[in-house]
Amino acid sequence: MTLLVRDEADILEHWLRYHLARGIDVVIATDHRSADGTTDILRSYQRDGRVVLLREHGEVMQQAEWVTRMARLAATEHGADWVIASDADEFWWPRSASFAELLEDVPSRFGVVRGLMRQFVFCPGEGSVFERMTIRARPSADLTSPYHAQVKVVHRGVPDASVTVGNHDVEGLGLRLIRDWFPFEVLHFPIRNERQLVDKFRRRASSPDGQHIVKALDRLARGEQELLLAETAFNAAALEAGLRAGSLVRDVRLRNALRSIATTGSLRSPTPPNLLDDADLAEDATVALQFDGAAVLARRCAELEHRAAVLEHRGSVRGRLAGRLSRRLSRP
């Protein structure tokens, strides 16, 4: 697994414990200018060999480049069969069985499978993030929302892998994708407190890759921090209304997993999903798949077909009019 991190000491320890307990062999981490204790946490895991630490000090975050470097390192130096490119606010949840068992079942002709992002909403308050934030939103189709629909990828370790910005796609020899299948969920906690919200977006000013980042930066530049907060935070009344309407869903899986790690030091395999879990996942997947290359192409194709039909119709109307006119003119 690879990790790109900057100043996420509030969740990093949980992130490492969780993924290592889930059976991840090695985490290759790139620490970009952390100053909040993140580096120390990574160092403490580096000592027992579970974390390989790279550090970057440059001003600008070069996400795709650094993630690609880690993915290649995983393949060439660590012999990784599969590579998961993650951020510190993403908790990868294999839907049934373990990471290894799930990935073993992928036929060899495929090299990429997908994880579906599950967006946990910001519930302001004190105390542990994961005790407090146990409600996720149906992902938004509006790309300027921090809770917009996204897919992530897991790929076979190959020396020429190239991971794109945002870890949504990967290219490389033999990396054929299974498009419509989500064996993993990515439990995502993008916004956890007000300070982190502001820092998160400010820091991306030099590499605003994503409409949600552009919009948040715009809000901050106009001094509309309160508005940005109001757009992303859910208070008790909003949570209750959302749960009733079905736009929000309670999901305590990660909370329980972290509790289990804290009390027993270990983690049980995830409970296999039932029919309703599958339907719930499909609902989020439907939104995400709207932005899939094939779906976007088909939509644009349909739009162009419509425009061509309009032009053809106009052409034939003009032709008929011209014919009628010339017949009339040629009458004696």
Partner: protein, 345 residues
Amino acid sequence: MTLIVRDERDVVEQQLAFHLAAGVDLVLVTDHASSDGTEEVLARYEREGAVHVTREPEGPFRQRDWVTRMARAAAVEHGADWVISSDADEFWWPRGGSLKEVLGSIPGRYGLVQSFVRHFVPTPADGRPFHERMTLRLAAEAPINDPRSPWRPFRKIAHRGHPRVEAVEGSHSVGGTGFVPLRGWYPLEVLHFPIRTAEQLERKGALWGSAVEKFYGSDEVAVGPGAAYHALAFRDSEGGRSRAVFEQLAVTGGGRYLAEDTRLRDALGRLAPDGPGALEFRRPTPSEDAAFAADAAVLGEADLIRVRRRLDALERRLGGLEAATGARLERGVRRLARRARRRGS
């Protein structure tokens, strides 16, 4: 469930027994002048109450109209929550839970759900019913996009009951409802047995051909992507080649792109001979899910190829438009030139 049949004696009994045990409440059937014994099977099920038959006399094969009529009747007269428009050679297989349970789990805002069609290849006829000997399923690793192939990858959909639903040829969608499809999940499979015996292949070709010969072009027969394959079957049957074609298609052993799949055989074997008990459908294991996802991946790849074909067609149309524009421009320029000459003289 709705069903159009014409001389389907070798499958119709299994079709009805299976679906009634899999969670279908009622089957609305349009019988297009069957005369091979199919009509007797239908009458027997009709007496038991779970099947309603509308009989259409010999004449045009108005598939789309009949499917539309039945789908609307299912919603309006029988209060169906969900409607599956099936063919006689299709067996709708729920992936964990009965058909009723699977469809009941679909979130309310979605009205269409996809199913992945699984093609079973013919095996040599040896006197046994098709479901006992056809246990090899095609597991293509790449999409077969030849429009003349019966093995093209495709989806079908089930839809919520709606009084103004309009059937679409091939049942890959419906019109008239505004229903939103649930994507990224295939909770249903359609086990598809299109070619079963040489006689059946010949009959299928002949029936389709005669329907098209009489009514082609009068909009009575919708000619969709499956038509090329049917047209081929028709030509084979006309030319007396059906048996040879069947023998060529029939598979005797396993192979790289074939998977052993005895689900239908076993399910029908479990059904009591004297009535439709209830079938149980276990949830697939993670490994089975992975294999299914890999098979279904060809659908996405086929979609891309279909988009490419649409783009090719679009390019040709644009070429035509450009040529027309060019010709108009040229005429305009000539006219101006004539006018200028006239003025000059």
